[in-house]
């Protein structure tokens, strides 16, 4: 993949400023103007600027890794733009939901704009796949914190499209995801995006939330199927029938008890995964190559970068193995935590699917809603409020 060349330092601030402005505009369009068209225009701008012009770098999705690496590697300082691209969308999500996803993220914008005929993903499949972004987030942090690689960037399916070049596999993945995205709303955002996972958590506790209408919900059910991303929630009764109550309580208690076990099991499995994961680190891989090639003659002629690395390792074999050992120890800790994280994600999801909620209106899920503003146009009360349609006058009743 062609990596964009370095740019003047002031561009970091320009990008951050553009991001802040775009986020502000998104908030204004979602909450004040409640304009789907405005968000489409913002999506087109973000796609052109953050996507095709900035070639998908820097982007908020990858910035998680910059911060993880900066936290664990004293020799690495996260760039200002990486900090801004992480912090601004998260801060906005904490107060006002996923405005970043609505029309500022170029990945989301691209998928949103190509959506032609959205098909409903079955709820069970949606819920099953919804744990993947959290696990991908954990993996991204693990490999960045250990200084291995930025896997989220390396396996980003849309960056090759923005850069119009890349590895064949990634180009095909991007194209396949786009074709899928014509019929399944935002597949990457919903089932893979690690930054979306963070924003989902932030959005869940956000002070302000997107509503179909700020007025009264008449439960006309017209917005029931309006969300192509499966974020519309229907009214629910919070309490089960009395005969189901003991059974549901037992099940919830069991889920609460099983979660710590899942965490421990995950940690144990993670530790077992450590040697394999560590092999992705250049130092460990070099040590492996060095040991595998012991006694073999050194290659001559024009040397590949891998040959050169091996030659260096042969100059300092002890240094190579010591460096590898240090990384392996770091991976032991990292993969253990990663495994525990997987256990926690599964357990938390399991518990959340056990909980009953009381909901009286049709409303978008705080965490899942990407604030695309599609549902606004489905609500007759909203259309009346905006003056698009006239309120139906009640026929006058006559008394005999």
């Amino acid at each position: 993949m062609t990596t964009p060349g370095p740019r003047a330092a002031y561009w970091e601030y320009v990008d951050s400023l553009v991001l802040a402005t775009a986020l502000g505009t998104a908030l204004w369009l979602i909450y004040t103007r409640r304009s789907r068209r405005g968000l489409i225009a913002l999506s087109i701008f973000s796609l052109i600027y953050f996507g095709f012009y900035r070639k998908g770098c820097i982007c908020s999705i990858g910035s998680v890794q910059n911060l993880a690496m900066a936290l664990f590697d004293n020799g690495y300082a996260a760039p200002v733009s990486a900090i801004a691209f992480f912090a601004l969308p998260v801060a906005v999500a904490l107060f006002s939901g996923r405005a970043f996803c609505s029309g500022v993220c170029p990945h989301g914008a691209l998928q949103d704009l190509i959506l032609v005929k959205p098909l409903k993903v079955p709820t069970w499949l949606e819920q099953g796949l919804s744990v993947l972004p959290f696990i991908y987030l954990g993996a991204g942090v693990l490999f960045a914190a250990t200084g291995t690689t930025f896997i989220i960037c390396q396996y980003d399916p849309f960056v090759p499209i923005f850069r119009m070049s890349g590895r064949t596999f990634m180009v095909l993945s991007g194209v396949a995801l786009l074709v899928l995205g014509m019929f399944v709303g935002r597949p990457y955002c919903r089932f893979l995006c690690p930054f979306g996972a963070i924003l989902k958590l932030a959005g869940t506790v956000s002070a302000r939330r997107v509503r179909v209408t700020p007025d009264l919900c008449t439960q006309c059910r017209l917005c029931e199927a309006s969300c192509p991303f499966g974020a519309m929630r229907t009214p629910e009764t919070g309490r089960p029938a009395p005969r189901d109550l003991p059974s549901e309580r037992r099940q919830l208690t069991l889920a609460l008890m099983v979660t710590p076990l899942l965490i421990f099991a995950g940690a144990w499995g993670g530790l077992k995964f450590s040697p394999t994961a560590a092999m992705l680190h250049p130092s460990v891989n070099l040590a492996h190559e060095f040991l595998a090639n012991q006694g073999k003659p050194a290659p001559t002629g024009a040397l590949s970068p891998a040959d050169l690395e091996l030659q260096r390792a042969r100059q300092n074999p002890r240094e190579t193995l010591v460096a590898s050992a240090k990384v392996q120890h770091r991976f032991d800790m990292g993969t253990t935590l990663f495994g525990a994280w997987i256990g926690l994600v599964i357990g938390a999801k399991w518990i959340s699917l056990r909980l009953r909620r009381t909901r009286t209106d049709y409303e978008p899920d705080r965490g899942d809603c990407v604030a695309c503003a599609r549902c606004f146009d489905y609500c007759p009360n909203e259309l009346v409020r905006r003056g698009v349609i006239s309120p139906v006058k009640e026929p006058a009743t006559t008394t005999l």
Partner: protein, 592 residues
């Protein structure tokens, strides 16, 4: 006849547009896929035909027709590749134009035909709970799937790597021999480069014989016929003596066992073809292909030849790497020797005229041949060798070229200071002693320069200069108090190191090309006609020994342990105590 007007479908034009753009995008997408595969398969870097031709050229480097064929093929491959890339870029832009039209058309059609939502059936408030039950099963299935996947990856069978000190020791013990760490003491007791370990033509620890007799073989450990011709001087490391030799047909490096005089290995250089178009520059016979002294970092031996071939060999003679810097544009042929610092190889590759910017200073990773930096120098041809020294705890390298002595930060290649002090054809190399750099402007001046300056230090850091009997070919030799020079005509002169005052001079009336060298408080001189002279390295002229040897010396001596290594035009000599060896091609001492 009544004409019935068919009612026009409002979506029809968008359907047509959708079909057209769909076909356009599909065809273009297929073309791009084929093009993408072509750019991968027809990558000029991986052309099998080109590779084969290059291998053939390596076997037969003088095949001009083959070179022309390679250039033509390379040009056509690259031209084809870039044409393809241009076409691909154009295609991608066209696709970027077509896809939005397709999407927009489809959305328009769907918007026109969309039916307003009509909620069906009665809403059941319990339905979300039922869905959750199914979802829990899906999450459980996902968790199981991941566990199985991770278990599968984990059990792929990654071989365990050492983690503890003990495991590392075991891994190293069972593998290839571990390279011994190089200490300062190893360096001092060897002669790892031209000018010796200290860069002043002296050895602080060697104790070579003060006398020897070629007729009786007394103190002549061995001598062997030189395996290959060359004017380069010997270097020594770890019981091995290294030289290079070469002709137009073959350039090689060879190693001789210090104790026995036995040829341990000789390895030919297999550098890749010269970069750029073939040139017809001649290598002058007066300097030959191997005038540059080799250098070692204790793990490799490095050699550069007058045709620009640069090679590194492991100490067992196996090739580590080789590259071709191209034939230097030098009227007398390239003669600057190599030097090392830690694991780096330093190459002074001066050539051409100052304004041409052809001259370069290269720092190369010794083990791999990776160029760490390559600095262009606005200087012309030079024949002096680079001097590596430490100043203020930092490594420096001093290079001489008319009219400047220039010192660079060795780690970064940044210029630190320069002194305008040189005239003529710069051949004597700079030396370093007692914290001072000494440079000889041929037959003009000997200068002492303090090395702690920055910028132009011509007026500020030249401590002294002397004008008596300044050499034009040989480099000076120094101990902590005195500096000795010998001119080509045989004038040996001794100066005080601190103030440059001449202590004494003596005319030996014979020609010298070999630099003087100091060990065990004695100066050793070897003339072109085979005269060997040993003197006390003191403030008074005191000759200890003089003899006539059956050889002609142009190369400077090297000291290691109790031995002096000499390279004559016909023989390689090892002077020192011990029983004369009669191994291999070694002749009994005293009987040429």
């Amino acid at each position: 006849m009544s004409v019935q007007r068919k009612k026009m479908d409002p979506a029809q034009s968008w359907i047509t547009m959708g079909w057209l753009s769909g076909v356009f995008c599909t065809v273009l997408g297929l073309i791009l896929c084929v093009g993408h595969i072509r750019t991968i398969t027809e990558d000029p870097f991986h052309s099998p035909t080109l590779k084969e031709l290059k291998i053939r050229l390596r076997e037969n480097p003088k095949d001009e027709a083959l070179k022309v064929k390679i250039r033509d093929l390379d040009l056509s491959l690259r031209a084809g590749y870039f044409e393809q890339v241009t076409r691909m870029n154009l295609g991608i832009w066209m696709l970027l134009g077509g896809v939005p039209v397709l999407i927009f058309s489809c959305r328009k059609v769907l918007a026109i035909r969309r039916q307003p939502p009509v909620p069906s059936g009665e809403y059941e408030p319990e339905s979300p709970h039922r869905e959750r039950a199914t979802s829990r099963r899906a999450v459980a299935a996902m968790a199981t799937l991941m566990a199985v996947g991770l278990w599968g990856i984990t059990s792929c069978g990654v071989s365990p790597l050492p983690r503890s000190e003990k495991q590392i020791d075991e891994a190293l013990a069972t593998g290839q021999p571990v390279v011994v760490e190089i200490s300062a003491a190893d360096y001092l007791k060897s002669w790892p480069r031209f000018l010796g370990p200290l860069g002043n033509n002296s050895s602080p620890v060697a104790n070579p014989p003060a006398r020897w007799e070629t007729s009786t073989g007394s103190n002549v450990l061995w001598r062997i016929p030189s395996p290959s011709s060359g004017f380069n001087s010997p270097i020594a490391w770890g019981g091995q003596v290294f030289f290079s030799g070469g002709s137009a047909a073959k350039r090689e490096v060879f190693s001789i066992d210090l104790k026995s005089g036995k040829l341990m290995w000789r390895s030919a250089v297999s550098a890749p073809p010269m970069p750029g178009p073939a040139t017809k520059k001649e290598i002058p016979e007066s300097t030959g292909y191997a005038p540059c002294t080799t250098a070692t970092d204790g793990r490799h031996v490095f050699a550069i030849f007058a045709n620009g071939e640069l090679a590194a060999f492991n100490l067992d003679g196996s090739s580590a790497w080789a590259k071709n810097l191209g034939i230097p544009d030098n009227p007398y042929g390239h003669a600057s020797s190599l030097t090392t610092w830690k694991d780096r190889l330093i190459v002074q590759f001066d050539q051409g005229e100052p304004d041409q910017g052809k001259s370069r200073l290269l720092s190369i990773e010794g083990g791999t041949g990776t160029v760490i930096y390559e600095k262009t120098r606005k200087f012309g041809s030079s024949w002096a060798s680079p001097l590596v020294f430490e100043s203020g705890g930092k490594p420096r390298v001093c290079l001489l070229s008319i009219p400047h002595a220039v010192t660079y930060d060795l780690e970064t290649g940044e210029e630190l200071w320069r002194a305008e002090c040189l005239n003529g054809e710069v051949t004597p190399s700079p030396i370093f002693s007692s914290g001072t750099v000494f440079v000889a402007s041929p037959t003009d001046k000997l200068l002492a320069i303090r090395p702690d300056g920055t910028g132009d230090v011509t007026k500020t850091h030249i401590q002294w200069s002397a004008e008596d009997n300044v050499p034009d070919v040989t480099s000076p030799a120094a101990n902590d108090e005195l500096i000795f020079t010998i001119s080509t005509s045989g004038q040996l002169t001794c100066f005080d190191l601190k103030d440059g005052k001449k202590q004494w001079e003596h005319d030996f009336e014979t020609e010298f090309h070999a630099s003087p060298a100091i060990a065990a408080g004695r100066i050793y001189l070897f003339s072109q006609k085979g005269r060997a002279i040993v003197l006390e390295a003191g403030r008074q002229f005191k000759e200890i020994f003089q003899t006539q040897m059956d050889d002609s010396f142009h190369a400077s001596p090297a000291f290691v342990g109790d031995n002096v290594i000499l390279r004559g035009l016909t023989n390689i000599w090892c002077l020192g105590s011990g029983i004369p060896s009669s191994v291999g091609t070694a002749k009994p001492a005293g009987k040429p």
